[in-house]
Subunit: 274 residues, 2 copies
């Protein structure tokens, strides 16, 4: 399809791209219309290569032909060209690298698929998209098989999550739990050792967890929201509570950093040392 | 000092707090006036307890008396009270938890002080305040002694860095290098084994680094910017290039996640296992 030059901010063909910084508006708009937004050439290409179907592309005028392969493969998808000023006016921010795509949302995996994995990260109520994106990227990079998300956790297909994850949300299997309360039981019933990451005094250290459970057939680490941490229900439901010991005077690690350390320590097929 | 109610957005007593989201304006304003901004009760209290002198406090009308101890200890410091609307108008964002403080900037440590440490994280050109804050918090939490920053790295006393670090920027010693180019030599001349975190094929794995250097008297890990990673100069100047092996199809970890994994692996006085 030829490129369409668009000059009016209220052109209805731009409707997928409005107010990208308005989280609550976007959440409603994206779920209602079944879409998500990818930003930047690399991430757009990864989404398309992972099989997500584009609805449209929005390119800045000065955009080079570097997505031409994607465009050729999807000849029916409108490619809209706008000035950077218009892009900013519509989306509400300076469009980094000048390319956005709107793609069809899909549910790719169910909870049952994820329960077949060996190594799972289970995210409770982490509501920050940066943290959810970072955890998915870390899990994928360190060889974990998938991520389960509690009903209230932030959306992995939100623009910011996708960007921080560098597209790992497209390659790593993930699914959303329907039932928050029974998650520890569900995991246990499916053969997982569940490790709750928390700083409870009634816990074992990560080093102890590596010795005791590093070779368990199935492991799920459960991580909670930045402020309050995991819920009491998930902590009490876990096989083990595991802490990363903190230096004096420091409360806690960021949830992304803590997950990275735990993922690295508890999945070492890449290791011939230690 | 009694609380001062302020009702006009252009009141000169609010000058320290204008446009907190405008990074380049703030960088100029804060260095010119020698100040920095702390946000939220916990972080403000930590700054003051660490000995930083407040210039003023800005509280939302509905703010409880929870900073009264800080206010009483500094009777000469103006405490300004504004509506949340006025706070948002001046600062440019919704003031989370309704308390801000402006404090005097100080240089607390020199490079020479940091060179006395056992375990250093050395940040090259990480320009994202979130990442710099996260790295300082991680280094402090995992028992590293300090952080050196290259001249172009982001400011640890920028509001966003402080917030992400949860105040660790006040307790953990850090200093800014004057000379980027000679940093690897400087560290080596001061007895450090320098480990460059990079994905070069000509590298050893983190597991190998733990075995070879985990007990070295002095260790410095050097980390580079998100996109391009460490400079060739720092990589070539390091004693060792160390990689965290990546799963197939994933380019890299986020610099904060990679630093967390390396800090955990290479500093294990808390460990009696592994």
């Amino acid at each position: 399809m030829p490129r369409i030059s668009i000059t009016e901010p209220d052109d209805p063909r731009l409707a997928d791209y409005v107010s990208l910084r308005d989280t609550s508006l976007r959440r409603h708009l994206e779920s209602t219309h079944g879409l998500f937004i990818a930003e930047g050439e690399k991430v757009i290409r990864r989404a398309v290569e992972a099989g997500y179907r584009p609805r449209s592309l929005l390119l800045a005028e000065r955009w080079p032909d570097s997505l031409s392969d994607v465009i050729e493969r999807h000849p029916d998808v409108p490619v809209m060209v706008v000035t950077e000023e218009l892009a900013e006016q519509v989306t509400g921010f300076h469009v980094h690298r000048g390319a956005l795509a709107s793609l069809h949302r899909e549910i790719r995996h169910g909870v049952d698929d994820l329960l077949q994995c060996r190594r799972l990260v289970v995210i409770e109520d982490v509501v920050d998209h940066t943290n959810v994106g970072a955890i998915l990227r870390t899990a994928a990079a360190l060889g974990w098989d998938g991520v389960l998300l509690a009903p209230r956790a932030a959306d992995p297909l939100y623009r910011r999550s996708i960007k921080v994850a560098m597209g790992a949300v497209f390659s790593l299997p993930w699914a959303r739990l329907e039932d928050w309360a029974n998650a520890p039981d569900l995991l246990r019933d499916n053969g997982f050792t569940t490790l709750a990451l928390a700083l409870d005094s009634d816990s074992i250290t990560l080093d102890e967890a590596v010795v005791e459970h590093g070779n368990d057939e199935r492991l799920a680490i459960m991580v909670g929201t930045e402020g309050a941490g995991l819920s009491r229900r998930w902590i009490d439901g876990a096989n083990r509570v595991v802490r990363i010991p903190m230096a004096a005077g420091i409360d806690s690690l960021n949830v992304g950093a803590a997950t990275a350390v735990a993922c690295w320590a508890l999945n070492r097929p890449h290791s011939d040392a230690g």
